[in-house]
Symmetry: C2
Subunit: 362 residues, 2 copies
């Protein structure tokens, strides 16, 4: 079987370490954006655009980087409910036959689509037609002019690849001491920034081709406040601590220092002004909404168990891929202990900025 380099889905299945059972942090964020999403659709979606094609009477929705639920099912159900409500309210004369919905669940080809399909609520199966769309959202995955509402939440921080130089032993951008971009080494940050800009351009370019004119792209996720390095956020502290645990394991010969030097996460949390600039740079969309929203969990400290489970569900696959079988259990056991010894000081940590953006295809 071919492998998919640089593609590390959330932990599959529905076991104790699965993303299904460890995505409540993301869920809270999605709940927070739910009402905003409804408002955006009610305000910005022009149902007449459906009438362009007289043969089809379909409204197509895509959730990019959907992972394996249950969050994605709630997101799309909310979108569909809102469109129906709008359609009813406007008593849309342009639409004759009843509106049909097709939902495109997109994620990498090695996402656990089996679990996604098998855990889909029965009610949703009656409400819309589903397809699984395997492929990176940094490229085209849907036909041109076929999509009406695109959605992406807490997924755009995944880069299409680890920036080349951060794993190059001869480069000044080698990410020697850390397993993430924590903004403490300028050369590393710069390498990540270059990749991020390219990926954002590719993402928006692909969506511009897929969306019909008038179609909406709804984005939510997280940025760093300007001037704040990731190392000062609790998420940054957590990943640096996981890196420290790997170093401890290297000292005991369970893994090697060299392996750690060559490992760096393909994740980049941009600063808010940087992110805005990339959104504004794309000329295919008008910006209907761009605002900061609060993440309800930002104001209460998380328990150590919650943090451990959450990061394990996210990082399990990618760590296993690089360090081999058997390392993950040991690593997260050590991490749990270290976290108990040095708990996160949430009051001192800087907070991410949560954004909510609505773009309209010109």
């Amino acid at each position: 079987m071919p492998t998919f380099p640089q593609s590390f889905p959330m932990n599959g299945g529905d076991g104790p370490h699965s993303y299904i059972h460890n995505s409540s942090y993301q869920k809270v964020a999605i709940d927070g954006a739910k009402e905003k999403t409804s408002e955006a659709i009610l305000k910005n979606l022009d149902l007449e655009l459906l009438n362009r094609n007289s043969d089809e009477n379909i409204l197509r929705i895509a959730d990019f980087g959907c992972s394996i639920g249950p969050n994605t099912f709630e997101v799309v159900q909310n979108i569909i409910d809102t469109v129906k409500q709008k359609n009813l309210k406007e008593n849309n004369a342009y639409i004759g036959a009843p509106l049909e919905f097709q939902v495109c669940f997109n994620d990498q080809p090695n996402n656990d689509f089996n679990t996604l399909f098998r855990t889909q609520p029965i009610s949703s199966k009656q409400a819309y037609l589903s397809v699984g769309v395997p492929g990176s959202f940094h490229g085209r995955v849907l036909p041109k002019n076929s999509l009406h509402i695109g959605h992406i939440t807490y997924a755009l921080h995944w880069l299409s690849t680890v920036p080349q130089h951060v794993c190059d032993k001869k480069s000044p951008a080698l990410n020697k001491s850390y397993i993430q971009c924590n903004n403490l080494v300028e050369e590393v940050t710069e390498a990540y920034r270059v990749q991020f800009k390219k990926d954002m351009g590719d993402f928006l370019g692909a969506r511009a081709e897929e969306l019909v004119s008038g179609g909406l792209m709804i984005l939510s996720g997280q940025c760093l406040p300007d001037g704040v390095p990731k190392a000062l956020t609790w998420q940054g502290v957590v990943i640096d601590m996981i890196g420290d645990c790997l170093m401890d394991m290297a000292k005991q010969g369970i893994t090697t220092k060299e392996k750690i030097e060559l490992f760096s996460l393909p994740i980049y949390i941009p600063h808010i002004s940087e992110f805005k600039a990339e959104i504004e740079r794309n000329e295919n969309f008008s910006i209907e909404t761009m605002e900061k929203i609060s993440h309800p969990m930002d104001y209460k400290p998380l328990t150590n168990d919650f943090i451990t489970s959450m990061f394990r569900a996210i990082l399990n696959t990618i760590i296993e891929e690089h360090f081999g079988d058997g390392v993950v259990n040991e690593l997260f056991d050590r991490f749990a202990k270290k976290l108990n010894k040095y708990p996160i000081d949430f009051k001192r940590c800087k907070k991410y900025v949560n954004y909510f953006i609505v773009l309209k295809r010109k």
Copy 2:
């Protein structure tokens, strides 16, 4: 996780008993139909129908009951190559932008889509956009008026459900002595026939809604010659022999007679005239081609190992589901031995009729 009653996909993964490694009988049939498929597309597909919708320039192809490859990848590649060839030859003035292809791989939600996506040849990923479409092909799985070429091969013999009466202890149609419809008990055959007619109607009705006017539906598969009971074909003999092995196991207490009485495969091989009648009954399609083709393997006896592996890949899931874990290994060990003792007399067995049909949506 919800279960999917009456949905028993081919054996997943890529292990020794997987459908991937045990579908060469089906492959030979598909190879046989390859040229016919190309001819049918060259002759019957009207590329102008693509121009109906000026925004999209997409040709959508669906393989219904696609299972997990490699056969399905070859089928769709052949269709795409043919459409491209036709497009080039006709130098189609109606199509401005380059033609895009989207392939809809359809099968039950518990089909192994993960393996399907992960084993897709890289070349095909560049040639077309892919989606996995989970759902029974007896119902709607795609939007109305969205499909240009539908394809189904060696899958229509799967019914949507086991006919109710054949597992009802109080019914005269209880399939007491056999695990299949082998046409030896008229009440059983009649129950299957009723279900088959309903399913064929549902299948063609759903496709009629999904296909655009002028769209093609290409079907291949197997029927019984009129007047021949399935019990006299080698495939019928094989499944009856598997049933005998189950009975042997019941005698030794490994399973129970009652469990076997309540088990009957949701498979029905119609007689050719019966099948033709169902095709002709649907008024949404014109019949462009309806002919018998030969299956190259019909003229040479198959080895016992080949037969065992082939039927195990097909029946593994459904038998495990009904009889529980651990029965399948034992059953196919016994079957292999019995087959060696009583090899199939291919010369005496009746042969299936292989059909190739092209329908055009009116």
